[in-house]
Subunit: 339 residues, 2 copies
């Protein structure tokens, strides 16, 4: 690899002059400047990012840690975060933890603050202790899409009111006349999607509509798991007229399950999800869902992370930004209760 | 950030001893070793990856450049590549170019060989000149999923026989009795998916089945574009009994288009794609497709890239590895021609 010294030698100047030209600093005559740029071109020299990062204590990249790059929500979030990062000339690199806390820790140890200036963390399965250690070393972290605006996770975060998302989904089904509504929760009962289910239960309870233990299944956040949970629910509780899933992927699986059982959507069964991923728009029938503000949350997360980077990590409390409220997007998968 | 010197001071040893302990090199007594590890823990020290990378001339990450992280094929490929990279202790970072050659060039300039030891490049829209420049600087690159095993792209690559994939799709439809088959090509006529269409045309021609200029549409590689192209084709050529799409995403769009026109799949219309992404398995009806060896190709690409890294870029020709042949996966979206 070409060095600064080689460029300097070819241009007949000092390395400091080459550096000044490349950084647009100091006073350099036009002829000298041109000679340096010609030497840079001729030798294929480029400023060594890692060296510069070491010298300046920073590299112009942000890392986004996601728990499962196969979940289509994360690429959508990554796209939005990347757009936001690029505004200030930063690159976004995506690291996939495969839902493995050990890999998450390795990324934090190896990449945070060295290969990247700061880290955006999705609700990855990781130990908060690891996040706190990384913060303690002075590397800014922002937890994205934190699900409970009313409770601080103890690290900087952007929160989305997922309890409200659950209430909106329940209210929509109640408005359509449904009173026998099954629930598919795509996490453990006390897992990351618990707030969504609590919002749903709260609204049914307020409306005086019973929701029994037999009407809910806890599963994983994948189409196939939603399919299996729906098959199980619809067999056990044939009087259900609607299914609420805490995420779009299991909602799509629930639609497939209904179709495979010969049920028409929405005439025989209404299905609603949460998030509004692209697949919700592209499925047939289109999936009614509670849209969360993905683009806004991503932009807010990048903005908060950049502010933390600028402040040199001196902000000792854990700021929380709350993204705009979720909204109902009604499509063809929900309709009036069957008579 | 804690330095090696601070760890050494706390442990009462020289920095060289700390380094030896951390790298498991040299002879260090057990008591000393433990004292160093205690100091590392107490101070929260971690080896500075960037510094080490500078010293050793390498960093243990590979970069994967994709043209559109929103295309679900890329996350599937990224997962497989990551599994392969991890075997040798390397991390995979994903960089999204948004199909923008300028962004692709920026990644190559900023990241190749500095933040990462080598670069996997998907069929991103980028100038081969940029790839060659990066190679000339000594940074290994492997082009993944190159579509023409019979033609070298001039840079190291893993090729998949997409011409064969096109022939298999055509043969499957011919075997089912179809002779009026429309085609949706998800690139320009001379674009990245051209070989697939050529294979399709070749097989129809060999079978003496006419395929007219009016029976094909060239579009973009997205569900919605496949939908639009299928609507257009089915309106213009109502006697078509099957549609071949050069990729699964437009094939899924074509299925939606048929459903929206009241056509039953496969009774009224057979649809087949290429790739076998997860959505092909999860759609209703399941999408028949020609499966390409994504996992094998990703593993081969990582292996080739690592070999190039090991050889220090001294390999001046452009090796090509050819992945296993594509295979037909028949699901419910294809059936005998309607009578």
């Amino acid at each position: 690899m070409t060095t600064l010294a080689e460029v300097a030698a070819r241009a007949g100047v000092t390395p400091a002059t080459v550096s000044n030209v490349l950084r647009k600093r100091g006073k350099v005559g036009e002829a000298t400047r041109q000679r340096v740029l010609d030497a840079v071109d001729a030798l294929g020299y480029r400023p060594h990012l890692t060296a510069r990062a070491l010298a300046e204590g920073s590299a112009p990249t942000l890392a986004l840690m996601v728990s499962s790059i196969a979940n289509p929500f994360y690429p959508e979030f990554a796209l939005a975060a990347e757009r936001a990062a690029r505004k200030n000339g930063r690159f976004l690199i995506v690291c996939n933890t495969n839902e493995d806390p050990v890999i998450a820790r390795a990324y934090l140890d190896q990449i945070a603050g060295t290969l990247s200036e700061g880290v955006l963390v999705m609700n990855a399965k990781l130990d908060f202790e690891d996040l706190e250690k990384t913060l303690a070393r002075g590397t800014p972290i922002v937890l994205c899409m934190w699900e409970r605006p009313d409770v601080s996770p103890g690290v900087p975060c952007v929160a989305v009111d997922f309890f409200a998302a659950g209430t909106l989904a329940a209210q929509h089904l109640l408005d359509l006349g449904h009173t026998r509504i099954g629930a598919i929760v795509a996490s453990q009962r006390d897992g990351v999607q618990a707030a969504r289910y609590e919002g749903f239960c709260h609204t049914l309870h307020e409306a005086g509509v019973a929701h029994l233990e037999e009407d809910v299944r806890f599963t994983r956040d994948e189409v196939q798991h939603g399919y299996d949970a729906a098959c199980d629910l619809l067999s056990a509780q044939p009087d259900l007229t609607a299914l609420f899933a805490t995420n779009d992927l299991p909602a799509l699986g629930a639609m497939h399950a209904a179709a495979d059982r010969g049920m028409r959507i929405p005439q025989d069964l209404s299905v609603i999800g949460i998030t509004d991923i692209q697949l919700a728009r592209e499925s047939r029938p289109g999936l009614s869902t509670i849209a969360v503000p993905t683009d806004a949350a991503a932009a807010m997360a990048v903005e908060l992370l950049e502010a933390l980077i600028e402040s040199g990590g001196r902000d000792q409390d854990a700021p929380m930004r709350v993204a705009p409220q979720p909204v109902l997007v009604q499509r063809a998968s929900t309709g009036p209760v069957r008579s």
